[in-house]
């Protein structure tokens, strides 16, 4: 676990009078292994270590802090290193921004992501969420490729007693555009576009997403990411972000035991926040992102 990595690192620094580069590099070795085993991106791990090293060695280690009794005590090199590690980890986590941008008269949410990441299920969860916020969402079945994708979204809509729009014969960009008109006509004030899963390297399908965005101008574009994703997370997130300027991420399947290090990486590399967490298969299993929860999970 990353916690063990931090523990070993601390032990290596225990009793040392000052931080030198050898000591810091030794301590960082354990942390590196832990973060990589948690699926944090290699590049993110490297820059994390560089920042910790620079701060640790640039540090005037004769720092003083107040102890529990308000008495001034000198901070040991070990404590200072520890503090720097946690500062840098927190920086990778936050800041927290879980808002959905409400647009008048129509709030628009677009779900995008790789195949099987949980977009359709999460679209249903978000519909329930928005309903809870007193919005009246219309679900839009814009995946015209996957067998029974429309049936799947319709079934979720039925469960929620919420309308689902689909018109056979329309391409996804036209479909989404028409959905907005249908929403207004039927007194709905939010639309959630469920799109087909696709590879970030699929030029034609990525252009389809750009087309949907151009026509519907959604203020909320969420990349739905499977929390068990490995080193591919950054490649994928960076490309989706480059093409669509994402609003944020939704990490799914966090009810499993994947460490979810990808969450750190994609947030760090794109600068976009994690909005929600999918924590189960049923439509109530959606939570707002909280850094402490994810941090302690990545830390094992």
């Amino acid at each position: 676990t990353v916690t063990r990595g931090f523990k070993n690192a601390r032990l290596k620094l225990q009793g040392k009078a000052e931080l030198n580069s050898e000591l810091v590099d030794e301590a960082l070795k354990d942390i590196r292994v832990s973060l990589l085993e948690a699926d944090v991106d290699l590049g993110v791990v490297k820059s994390f270590m560089d920042r910790v090293r620079d701060k640790s060695l640039g540090q005037v280690v004769g720092l003083e802090v107040k102890d529990g009794h308000g008495k001034r005590v000198k901070l040991s090199p070990q404590d200072r290193f520890n503090g720097i590690c946690h500062e840098e980890l927190e920086a990778l986590m936050g800041p927290v921004d879980t808002s959905i941008t409400v647009q008048k008269p129509l709030t628009k949410v677009m779900m995008v992501g790789l195949q099987g990441s949980g977009k359709t299920t999460t679209a249903g969860k978000l519909a329930r969420w928005l309903d809870g916020k007193k919005l009246r969402p219309l679900l839009v079945a814009a995946d015209i490729y996957r067998p029974a994708a429309v049936d799947q979204l319709r079934a979720l809509g039925d469960k929620l007693q919420m309308p689902v729009f689909h018109e056979p014969g329309l391409k996804p960009p036209e479909l989404c555009e028409k959905a907005m008109a249908v929403a207004r006509e039927t007194g709905r004030n939010a639309v959630i576009f469920d799109t087909a899963g696709r590879l970030a390297i699929d030029e034609e399908l990525m252009r389809e997403l750009e087309d949907i965005k151009a026509r519907t101008k959604p203020d909320n574009i969420f990349l739905v990411v499977d929390s068990m994703i490995g080193q591919d997370a950054v490649r994928t997130a960076a490309e989706f972000n480059r093409r669509l300027d994402l609003t944020g991420f939704i990490m799914t399947k966090l009810d499993g035991d994947a460490r979810g290090g990808a969450a750190l990486s994609i947030k760090e590399v794109t600068g976009k926040p994690i909005k929600f967490l999918g924590v189960g298969e049923t439509l109530d299993k959606l939570e707002e992102f909280r850094p402490q929860g994810l941090a302690s999970r990545i830390l094992g």
Binding site: V33, L36, E37, A38, D39, L42, L114, Q115, G116, S117, G118, Y145, R146, P147, A148, A149, D151, Q152, R154, A155, L156, K159, L199, A200, I201, D226, M228, I229, G230, Q231, D232, A233, R235, T236, K253, D255, G256, D257, A258, R259, G261, A262, E281
Partner: protein
């Protein structure tokens, strides 16, 4: 002393990131480096080419786990149970596998064992129609085991050569769902002695280090006969299977290379190694 020989640091700095970014994992990468250090002479350890070739050989050796060729299995019917976590590609892969078997002249029956997820049965039915096989659906209120029991029975009646059973996706951390899978396996054996002849874990190639835990857990519950690695047409390299093959001795049988019916290929160890170093 062979123990004190080191691979040239410049070579390690080049090879290690390549393997880590391919999801090979830190421990397995370390193991590969250690094996190479022991195998090569100190002169060879300073040759980037020699080290790289040695690593390739080690990986090739690890992932070349012997396995029967699916379409050449002679049990009749040959019953295949397909399992894996949510969204890995099970239902789609069953369609592809059915198509592959049909192309080779076999009768195939599909069992719609996902009685849980919205439109799961409809999805399998579309694939069954495309591949030209009967899809056995459950009656209202039937659980997964009952549907797959019926599927095996029906397949036998139809004289099917292969019966492919779909199951609902599930996270290995859910004890009750893993127990359900064990029950499904037992019930399939009741429908036909010796069934299931194959229990295949479908694994998404984008999965990180959690893949090894998935494989361990599903293997422990069901005794897997192999892995199918999906979404290999993406940018993820699927390096996690090296540890799965090496530690669990599970063969990778097929790879999914797209979303069409024909997008399934038998696992080719050499092609896999080439892909890692591409």
């Amino acid at each position: 002393l062979s123990g004190t020989r080191e691979i040239d640091e410049k070579i390690v700095d080049e090879l290690e990131p390549l393997l880590i970014q391919a999801d090979v994992g830190v421990k397995t990468t370390q193991k590969l480096m250690d094996l190479v250090r022991q195998r090569l002479s100190s002169k060879e350890l300073s040759s980037a080419e020699k080290v790289r070739d040695a690593i390739r050989d080690e990986i090739l050796r690890m992932v070349s786990v012997p396995a029967p060729v699916m379409e050449e299995r002679t049990e009749r019917p040959c019953v295949v149970m397909v399992v894996g976590v949510n969204g890995a590609g099970k239902t789609t892969t069953i369609g592809k596998l059915a198509h592959r078997l049909r192309q080779r002249g076999h009768t195939v029956v599909l069992g719609a064992g996902d009685t849980f997820r919205a439109a799961a049965v409809e999805q399998l039915r579309v694939w069954g129609d495309r591949a030209g096989c009967v899809t056995v659906e459950g009656k209202e209120g039937q659980d997964s085991a009952a549907v797959l029991f019926d599927s095996v029975k029906k397949g036998k009646e139809e004289g099917a050569a292969f019966i492919l059973g779909d199951t609902a996706g599930r996270l290995h951390t859910k004890v009750n769902l893993m127990e359900e899978l064990k029950k499904v396996r037992r019930v399939m054996a009741k429908a036909h002695e010796g069934a299931p002849h194959e229990v295949l874990l479908v694994l998404d190639a984008t999965t990180g280090q959690n893949a090894l835990i998935q494989a361990e857990q599903f293997n422990q519950a069901l005794e897997l006969s192999g892995v199918i690695l999906t979404k290999v047409d993406g940018t993820a390299k699927g390096g996690v299977i090296i540890a799965i093959c090496d530690q669990l001795k599970l063969p990778v049988r097929f790879v999914g290379v797209g979303e069409k019916l024909s997008d399934l290929r038998p696992f080719d160890p050499a092609a896999f190694v080439d892909g890692l170093f591409a």
